[in-house]
């Protein structure tokens, strides 16, 4: 980050102020969320964020194994972030590595903050995040998917966690970095945000920023999170709204029958 030489044919911000993929600095990639996509998991969500494709599944609260990890006062939120070997351009060596351990840990901590862990002593709530296709910003997309999956599983929470990144490319602060911007940009700040209370539950920074740039970056990321939050809520409401509409069809049949009488 910051140090990578920019290839001559890559122009991160053009003369019109547009980014490599044509977005404005404060414009996000298209985001699509679907809740309840897996039948076997207690809760699940699928997220397509730009070219990122991420699946999240939640199991539990269930008995915590190994037993020594059990907390007699609260539930443990255990997140496992994994990238599929085919998720990146050069095949990724499968299995946990330093990076995925770190991401699992920070996402677990971000989610623990919103879950009512005290309702489920001695249990564990297991969250699995599988990155099927990666294109920068997978930890944000993963956290976004995981919190939708938790809500879908019926886990009591204080709020959903929305997540979005900001960064700096060509001395300009931008929101939601794409792959080239992440690779050749100057800084990247992923933010996990609790919109209801305004708390930040995940914050990392890679690269160098001045104080002003950082403040601008955070506010861009938070604006992004608020947009993500609306899409998350919509995905959860849609999951059951579809069924209500389906169920209405025979219902209206009964009503029209009554009119006939």
């Amino acid at each position: 980050m910051g140090g990578a030489p920019i290839p001559a044919d890559v122009k991160l911000i053009d003369e019109n102020g547009r980014r490599a993929d044509g977005r404005l600095p404060d414009e996000m990639r298209p985001l699509k969320i679907e809740a309840g996509v897996l039948a076997r998991a207690d809760g699940s969500a699928y997220v397509e964020w730009g070219m990122n494709k991420i699946m999240a599944a939640v199991y539990g609260p269930r008995e915590c194994h190994p037993r020594h990890l059990q907390n007699p006062e609260r539930a443990l939120v255990q997140c496992t972030y994994n990238m599929a070997s085919f998720s990146v351009e050069d095949r990724k060596r499968p299995g946990p590595d330093r990076r995925s351990h770190e991401i699992s840990k920070i996402i677990s901590e971000a989610l623990t903050h919103v879950v009512f862990t005290e309702y489920f002593p001695r249990t564990s709530i297991d969250v699995y995040i599988e990155v099927l296709q990666a294109n920068a910003g997978t930890r944000c997309a993963g956290l976004t998917a995981a919190s939708v999956a938790l809500a879908d599983a019926g886990v009591p929470m204080r709020d959903l966690v929305a997540s979005c990144a900001a960064g700096k490319v060509a001395e300009t602060m931008i929101v939601d970095l794409a792959k080239e911007e992440d690779n050749f940009g100057q800084a990247d700040i992923p933010v996990g945000y609790v919109p209801r209370t305004g708390e930040i539950v995940l914050l990392q920074m890679d690269g160098d920023l001045t104080n002003d740039q950082f403040t601008k970056g955070i506010s861009l990321a938070i604006d992004g999170c608020k947009k993500v939050y609306d899409i998350q809520r919509d995905a959860l409401k849609r999951r059951y709204a579809v069924r209500t509409v389906d169920a209405d069809i025979p219902q209206s049949g009964i009503e029209s029958g009554k009119e006939g009488i």
Binding site: E63, P121, G154, V155, V194, A241, D248, S252
Partner: protein, 230 residues
């Protein structure tokens, strides 16, 4: 699609963190209060009554409560107790003093073995969710024969229906003996065709749990399926 708008206002789906009201005294199950306001804690259907705002969950694990009737499965045997899986995050040990028989130390396996289905009552749940169950009450026993279906615990109230109307209809129509555990396990016994009909009706209730006019729909299903069977 147009008609769904009016239905949704009747059955508003809320997501965690959604503001429900400003009177903390009204906070009911599925909600929490913060700074004097009531918010939804779970994904569910908002239910606003004059004295209480609550959220009826659409999904979630079974949390044992004192007095619940549950259908359990024996998963392990100890010298003086059985370990019962009651479909919750917590194991439920059934001690020999809580069964209707006199069991000598080390003779537990002569009475019930792994895989047996039992009808139990949750006697107590303490602060750290240690559970004690009992088989010493009217109607509680080991269930032999029959079949067990699992439904989501949040949908058990729909299977039972208002004042037991749904389950009564199922019992009358299929002639099966049915026990519905609060933990989402349902035990059915009768002749095979009727068991299958009851199971399919329960599946239907689970799939369409939050649609209106469910009892009518199940009634029609039972009528058509019995005609086919005859």
């Amino acid at each position: 699609m147009q008609s769904s708008d009016s239905k949704e206002s009747a059955r508003e789906i809320v997501v965690p963190g959604e503001l429900l009201g400003t009177d903390p005294r009204k906070a009911g199950p599925g909600t929490f209060t913060e700074n004097g306001k009531v918010y939804a804690a779970q994904l569910g259907i908002k239910s606003a009554r004059p004295d209480e705002i609550s959220v009826v969950p659409l999904s979630g694990q079974y949390m044992p409560m004192r007095g619940d009737l549950v259908v359990g499965k024996i998963v392990d045997i100890g010298p003086s107790n059985w370990l019962v899986d009651i479909n919750s995050p917590y194991p439920a040990p059934l001690h020999v003093t809580e069964v209707p028989w006199r069991v000598e130390f080390g003779e537990t396996s002569k009475f019930m073995t792994v895989g047996d289905i039992v009808l139990l009552k949750v006697v107590d749940v303490d602060e750290i969710k240690r559970i004690s169950v009992s088989m010493q009450d009217h109607g509680l026993r080991k269930l032999t024969g029959g079949m067990v279906v699992d439904v989501s615990p949040s949908k058990v109230p729909r299977v039972i229906g208002r004042n037991g109307s749904m389950i009564q209809m199922l019992k009358n129509d299929t002639g099966c003996r049915i026990y519905v555990g609060q933990n989402g396990r349902i035990w059915i016994d009768g002749d095979l065709d009727n068991i299958v009909r009851a199971m399919q009706a329960i599946k239907m209730i689970e799939d369409e749990a939050h649609s209106l006019g469910l009892t009518e729909k199940v009634k029609r299903y039972l009528e058509t399926s019995s005609r086919k069977g005859a």
